[in-house]
Amino acid sequence: MRAPDRIAEPAPAADEVETSLYEVRKKIYARAVSGLFARWRIALVIITQLVFYCSPWLIWNDRQAVLFDLVSRKFYIFGLVFWPQDFIFLTALLIISAYSLFLFTAVAGRLWCGYACPQTVYTEMFMWIERKIEGDRLQRMRLDQSSLGARKFGLKLLKHGIWIAVALWTGFTFVGYFSPIKTLAASFSPWTLGPWETFWIFFYGFATYGNAGWMREQVCKYMCPYARFQSVMFDPDTLIITYDAKRGDPRGARGRKVDSKAVGLGDCVDCNICVQVCPTGIDIRNGLQYECIGCAACIDGCDQVMDKMGYARGLIRYSTENAVKGKYPDQEIKKHVVRPRVLIYTGLLVLVIIAFFGGLFLRSPLKVDVIRDRGAMVRDAGGGLIENVYRLQFINTDEAPHRFSVNVSGLDGMQVVMQQPVEVPPATTQVFPVSVKLDPAGIESGSHVIVFHIVDLDRASVRADEKSRFFVR
């Protein structure tokens, strides 16, 4: 490795000014925008947040409908109760999420980032609050430049107050998914909140306030790993937000009645609206950039200007790299959606979704573990019989009690000694000691495979067959 000489130079001279290698953040004052894509985003904000804020309050079967009870390790989602043994479903869910992400990104770029990511959603909410209190872009810029007076102080106090309130409510809701939310709500007065609940409410609240209020686009630019690795999911046929340079350039201001062609200008009036509305502060006209979260605010902004100017919409629009290069016209973009990458992602996604729901549908509410006693292999049971002892651990994941019969097969004449039927209360794990008796006459000494058959007395399809071993002296 060649070490550049300059690095090894002695201490810098006094006249050298310290320069930061890392750009100091320029605060972004995103301008409000309305239009088709803004409406989509608002709709998604409302839908996701309705689900997030309301779900913990719903009741199902006299319990919280959605509750992830970490203490007793039961995870309730409406009619479903998941146990740690059902971890595979979480895996499947994560695979579904991952492939959905791959698929959406391959088709239309950073859809997740632009419309549904919590970072975007909460930033959107916090910016909305900001706008209602401090006004739009110019008013906010002016307010920040003005000296601190009673008005500015009041507005800032109000904004941060509401932000913090929303953030804490978010933290409270989040913890409400893990700790029954009604008990949680009741534990504020008198203050009986546990130390961990307190910590997580404030931690999650602080993260919401910090990320949506202060960090904003920096999270996407510097912290989010997905933002960086998503570029591998793009290809030249992926829909991206593009500025049509051929149509727009050369840029320049002109009057509405001026014929742009006559003055040698393209359609871009250089109004900078697309830059002003951008939540990450980039200029989309410079082409696709890693900062672009695909929110399409610039499309909405530009379309409004085009309407005012009486030009056709779509100077900034969803298009593909190949379409921009002129490999095919915009009308053919739809045709290029169907391509191997998209088909493979879709196929895998559909497979995993089918497996997920199939697995859920076929999931047995009964799980049984047979644990052999290790202290004694065999014992005399009187009358010439021998006995092996087992513990049957029943897990009834259902929210109704179940009755089971226990039988055993493998050696002729085996008898199960236990009180039958076995009743297992709803959603519990219970251990039942059981002994199996056998007349050992004529049976080879050593270990034999036996199978316990546990069958639900009310629904024969619910059954478990568990292998174990029987020792003969």
């Binding site: 490795m1 060649r2 070490a3 550049p4 000489d5 300059r6 690095i7 201490a11 810098p12 001279a13 050298e16 000014v17 310290e18 320069t19 290698l21 890392y22 006693d373 290790r374 202290g375 004694a376 065999v378 014992r379 005399d380 009187g382 006995e387 002892v389 087992y390 513990r391 000694v417 251990v431 000691p433 059981v434 002994s435």
Partner: protein
């Protein structure tokens, strides 16, 4: 610590630890003093990938350097609070034993009230309580099932707890005493006292006859006086045993080691040594009480 470790080693380790921390700080300082002059371009590391991809030789960003400094501060604070510098115990006096004991105390505070509320109740009543029975079952599976079996049916040398037959008595008080203090069941070797192997077989057949098992009545007849002489002191003249000293009842066809002639002869000749460990040192009174009730309930079930 071992006797041959000199105190000086503690100092040696402490010095090395602190010197390493200082060395880290010095290294960080050396690496972070360099700033680029305005307009100055940093060099590259010299590697070129994919035709034109180069890695710049920039100084480390200061926020990152600060994270390193914070780790040094963290290390110093840690070394002051916790044991780490040689044999210095740390300001907080933390030990793993202490943490274990704290957790034990915490567990006792959490579960104590649940368990202790049964202490005031009569064991017979506790035995009928379903919640107490569940707790009892878990305790039993943890502490007793290794020997007595998950179903409490025992095995060779380990008494069956469900048959209503008690070596030391089946009253709640007796069961509790057994649990707390354990038991030492010893039968001395009686081979010499009984006589030769034929005499031992005679006694064995007499013992078989006591519980009505198939036996040679002639031998049993011959064995009877030997039994009266050698065995009756503990097992009683009628063979019904003695719960005061834990001598088993020989008339009920319940066998701790086995009821065949061979096993009985072995017992007579070699004697038996058996032990149940005392549990008072690691189970508190509340748990013993619940276990007592659970065991009581087991034999009650058998009686039904």
């Amino acid at each position: 610590m071992s006797d041959f470790v000199h105190d000086g080693w503690s100092l040696y380790i402490a010095i090395i630890t602190l010197a390493s921390l200082v060395a880290c700080a010095v290294l960080l300082k050396l690496m972070s003093t360099r700033k680029l002059a305005p307009g100055e371009k940093p060099g590259t590391t010299g590697h070129i990938w994919d035709e034109d991809l180069q890695e710049w030789h920039n100084p480390l960003p200061s926020w990152w350097m600060w994270l390193f400094y914070i780790t040094i501060v963290f290390a110093l604070v840690y070394l002051i609070l916790y044991p780490g510098l040689g044999s210095y115990k740390g300001y907080l006096g933390w030990t793993s034993t202490g943490q274990y004991q704290d957790e034990q105390k915490q567990a006792a505070a959490t579960y104590g009230p649940v368990i202790d509320k049964y202490l005031k109740q009569d064991p017979v009543k506790v035995a009928a309580d379903p919640v107490a029975r569940e707790i009892g079952q878990r305790l039993f599976l943890n502490y007793c099932a290794q020997c007595h079996g998950s179903d409490a049916g025992g095995s060779k040398g380990y008494p069956n707890l469900r048959d209503g037959d008690w070596l030391y008595g089946g009253s709640p008080e007796m069961i509790k005493t057994t649990l707390l203090n354990g038991r030492n069941g010893a039968m001395p070797p009686m081979g010499a006292a009984v006589g030769g192997s034929e005499e031992v077989r005679d006694v064995a057949h007499y013992v078989l006859s006591l519980s009505g098992r198939t036996h040679d009545s002639l031998r049993a007849q011959r064995g009877q006086p030997k039994f009266a002489a050698a065995c009756a002191a503990c097992h009683g003249a009628d063979g019904k045993g003695n719960q005061q000293i834990g001598a088993p009842n020989l008339t009920d066809d319940i066998w701790l080691y086995g009821g065949t002639e061979a096993v009985i002869s072995e017992t007579i000749v070699k004697g038996r040594m058996n032990q149940m460990p005392a549990h008072k040192d690691f189970l508190d009174e509340g748990k013993i009480h619940l276990l007592t009730a659970y065991v009581l309930g087991l034999s009650g079930q058998a009686a039904k």
